[in-house]
């Protein structure tokens, strides 16, 4: 499976998961679940909200990556790395918030919050590598791989 296919699949699955979490959070609002809503659980509520928002947003980032990322022909290594970084970021950041919220320690999130800065670094790296690939592609480095394929197609060659 090439990078675009992986990120597309990852993006949609993540979107499904984190939207499900969003519905779960709304249900907890609806049923006034104290584990989520009580003032004493305010840090947990914040972490779970952050998990939902980051997870959803990073799923969309992965899908946007699939739709817009470009690399010169034969130079897809950078793009492969960017895709991997974005997938890991999309996993680690929301999971850090989620686990940090579920296992909150007093006013602070649980130790899993340590995943968040790692995910943040990977996100930054992924975006940087994507930009590099786009720049190389724009500089005439070669055709643009279509969405869902690492190989340039005919129309790209013609372009």
């Amino acid at each position: 499976m090439d990078v675009m296919e992986r990120n597309r699949s990852f993006g949609w699955w993540c979107l499904l998961c984190w939207l499900t979490l969003g519905m779960l959070l709304e249900a907890m609002h609806g049923f006034k679940v104290g584990w989520y809503l009580d003032v004493v659980n305010e840090p947990r509520r914040l972490q779970l909200t952050l998990a939902h928002s980051h997870g959803t947003l990073l799923a969309i980032v992965n899908l946007v990556f699939v739709a817009t990322a470009r690399a010169p022909t034969g130079q897809t290594r950078s793009l492969d790395r960017a895709g991997a970084c974005l997938r890991w970021a999309g996993l680690l950041m929301p999971m850090g918030f989620l686990l940090g919220g579920v296992f909150a320690i007093g006013p602070d999130p649980g130790f899993a919050i340590a995943l968040v800065p790692i995910g943040g670094f990977l996100l930054f790296t992924g975006v940087l590598l994507t930009l590099r690939s786009l720049r190389a592609s724009a500089a005439g480095g070669g055709p643009v791989p279509p969405v869902g394929s690492a190989k340039p197609d005919k129309s790209a060659k013609q372009a």
Partner: protein
């Protein structure tokens, strides 16, 4: 709500402009629609700015004490981020609202064009937008020349539970004045200060300036600094600062700047969370030694002799109190255990809000390590299902009343009736009813004493303080109490007078007691357990008599107790009216009672009813003539 409406209005205007732009043909028409929309937004913005009250930064407020952080105090806003539950429960408490700025959210009293009269002086209360005003005689005319009548703005409030008092600006530096009326929250009415506190009718009450800066700020604000200057005995300037209005986190936990700074580090926070040791950068009264813990509450809930020398006075005027929670209170002041006004003759404090002084003589505290936190909990615990208001009422732990005592005295738990000699489920078997009777007065009611002791007739004879037995069995004599205490507990029988043997103790306190005893009895006559134990029909003539008491507050309490009786639920009288009005109220109460055809029953001689069911007027009058007329002032 208004911002929400404004936002909706702006969105509607924008939508209308977009619709107009799409429908209109021609560049000029579209430009006109755009310009119209921009004009509308501009007009609305100018209107909103012009009509909103100007915001004055706190440091530029000149007419009242202001909030300024100093000395390591950072205010509750800093605590909220890490301690949301503690912040929320404190926010629900009456400690927070002890002092507030006068704003629509804080002012509970009726200021809608209300006119009040007190001792011939007129007070006109008005509301002007978000501001509250009082028009009255110039209260500082004798100090600073000025007009006879003034209209002053209310700038601060005190209290939000039973009563709310109001402070007006005086124009004299940051000195505020105390408005002579108080808003009684439960009954939604204005009462004079004399109706709220035990004060002799001969004491003048007026709109007096200055007391907040010297007295109230000690405990009604966090880290208060009077910052006053004198020339001789004359106050020349007050620039009073507080860290925070009301009794906030740092009143009990001490200044938190170091704690906040240290805990910026997440590694420290995680290490602290995993440690079993308390955080050394902040004081937690629950982790202090018992005496130090009690002192934290005691710093305000106590009466003290202050170390008053020139150095201490200078420090106090400039920086406020030096004591900090966790420190040794006795270094700076000593708890008072005698005094004419606030103490029973044996040194037990008799005004509410001074529980520390009473605790100090209790064996449970002195030998048993009991602290305030043994029974009270300052942050409503997670899982406590009581409504916030119920918990906030006296911030007690969510324990069955006896459980607080049985934490230590477990041996009585198995068979409480064997110890109490009352039915196990009855009020007579509740630990606090016998060992913490309502012999302290405060906030227009009887309040439980915090001197935990067993009832004796001897202490009543020596001090005049009601004992638990006679405060519940209002229709019984001291001899009756002495007999049962001797039979059940072997308490020594005291020597008793004829009246002690023949007349119910409550009747003697009501008719012949001093004002503070009468106030307590007026409340006891309405106390449900006492009514259940003693009956209530016979009490009406006594409550009616108290409606004509010289002390306003006694009249008020008697009226409230009377209203708990059948047929009196709508009974009201003019508390500050002339003597004729009071006598008329008394006659009206007796008339209602007689119309009910009261069945007094036999065996009521102790409460002065003869075998024919009629009140024995001669004995009633004899006791009234013997009334203790000493002037009583109970400063709460």
């Amino acid at each position: 709500m208004s911002s929400e409406l404004q936002a909706l209005g702006a969105a509607a205007a924008l939508a209308a402009a977009v619709l107009a732009a799409r429908c209109l043909r021609g560049e000029r028409a579209r430009l006109l629609a755009g310009a119209g929309f921009a004009g509308l937004v501009a007009v609305a913005s100018v209107w909103a700015v012009a009509t909103s009250p100007p915001h004055v930064p706190e440091d530029q407020v000149a007419s009242r004490p202001i909030e300024v952080q100093a000395g390591g105090y950072v205010t509750s806003s800093k605590c909220r981020a890490c301690h949301p539950h503690e912040y929320a429960t404190w926010h629900d408490s009456y400690h927070r609202t002890m002092t507030r700025r006068a704003e629509p959210e804080s002012v509970l009293g009726d200021f809608n064009d209300v006119r009040l009269t007190l001792e011939g002086k007129q007070y006109h209360l008005q509301r002007d937008g978000d501001e509250f005003w009082v028009e009255m005689d110039n209260p500082i005319r004798s100090i600073v020349p000025g007009p006879a009548k003034v209209r002053e703005r209310i700038v601060m409030t005190t209290g939000s539970h039973q009563l709310q008092a109001y402070w007006f600006e005086t124009g004299f530096t940051r000195t505020t004045g105390l408005f002579p009326f108080t808003w009684q929250i439960e009954e939604q009415r204005w009462i004079s200060r004399r109706s709220a506190f035990v004060m002799p009718p001969s004491d003048p009450i007026d709109a007096s300036p200055g007391t907040w800066t010297f007295i109230c700020l000690k405990c009604h604000a966090t880290h208060a600094r009077p910052r006053v200057e004198f020339e001789g005995n004359t106050l020349t300037r007050s620039d009073t600062h507080v860290a925070e209005f009301g009794i906030a986190c740092e009143s009990c936990h001490g200044p938190a700047a170091n704690h906040v700074e240290a805990n910026q580090s997440p590694t420290r926070r995680y290490a602290q969370s995993l440690s079993s040791e308390p955080d050394p950068t902040i004081v937690n009264p629950a982790h202090l030694a018992p005496l130090r813990s009690t002192e934290v509450c005691g710093q305000c809930h106590g009466v003290f002799d202050y170390f008053v020398d020139e150095r201490h006075m200078r420090t106090w005027f400039r920086d406020g109190f030096v004591y900090r929670p966790g420190g040794e209170l006795g270094k700076y002041r000593t708890a008072k255990l005698t005094g004419e006004e606030q103490f029973w003759p044996d040194g037990l404090v008799r005004t509410a809000g001074r529980e520390y002084n009473a605790m100090l003589g209790s064996a449970c505290h002195d030998r048993g390590h009991m602290t305030c936190l043994s029974c009270h909990v300052l942050h409503q615990p997670v899982g406590d299902t009581r409504p916030h208001r119920v918990w906030a009422d006296d911030q007690l732990r969510d324990l069955d009343g006896d459980q607080t005592c049985l934490q230590c005295h477990a041996k009585y738990g198995a068979d409480i009736a064997a110890h109490s000699h009352h039915a196990a489920a009855s009020e007579g078997s509740r630990c606090q009813n016998c060992h913490m009777p309502h012999t302290t007065y405060g906030l227009m009611k009887g309040v439980r004493t915090h001197r935990i002791a067993s009832p004796t007739v001897q202490s009543t004879l020596a001090t005049g303080r009601p004992n638990a037995c006679n405060q519940c069995h209002l229709d019984q004599t001291l001899a009756w109490t002495a007999t049962w205490l001797h039979a059940w507990y072997g308490t020594e029988q005291p020597t008793l007078s004829t009246d002690d043997r023949q007349i119910a103790a409550s009747v003697r306190w009501i008719l012949a007691g001093d004002a503070a005893q009468r106030a307590l009895m007026a409340w006891s006559l309405g106390w449900a357990p006492a009514r259940a134990a003693s009956g209530s029909v016979w009490t009406v003539p006594y409550l009616a008599e108290l409606l004509d008491d010289p002390y306003e507050v006694v009249r008020l309490i008697a009226e409230r107790s009377l209203r708990t009786l059948p047929g009196f639920d709508a009974f009201r009288h003019d508390l500050i009216g002339p003597a004729e009005a009071r006598r008329a109220a008394k006659a009206a109460a007796l008339s209602i009672w007689q119309q009910q055809g009261p069945a007094i029953g036999r065996d009521r001689q102790q409460v002065l009813f003869g075998p024919d069911g009629n009140l024995r007027g001669d004995e009633f009058a004899r006791l009234l003539r013997a009334r203790n007329l000493r002037l009583v002032r109970l400063f709460e």
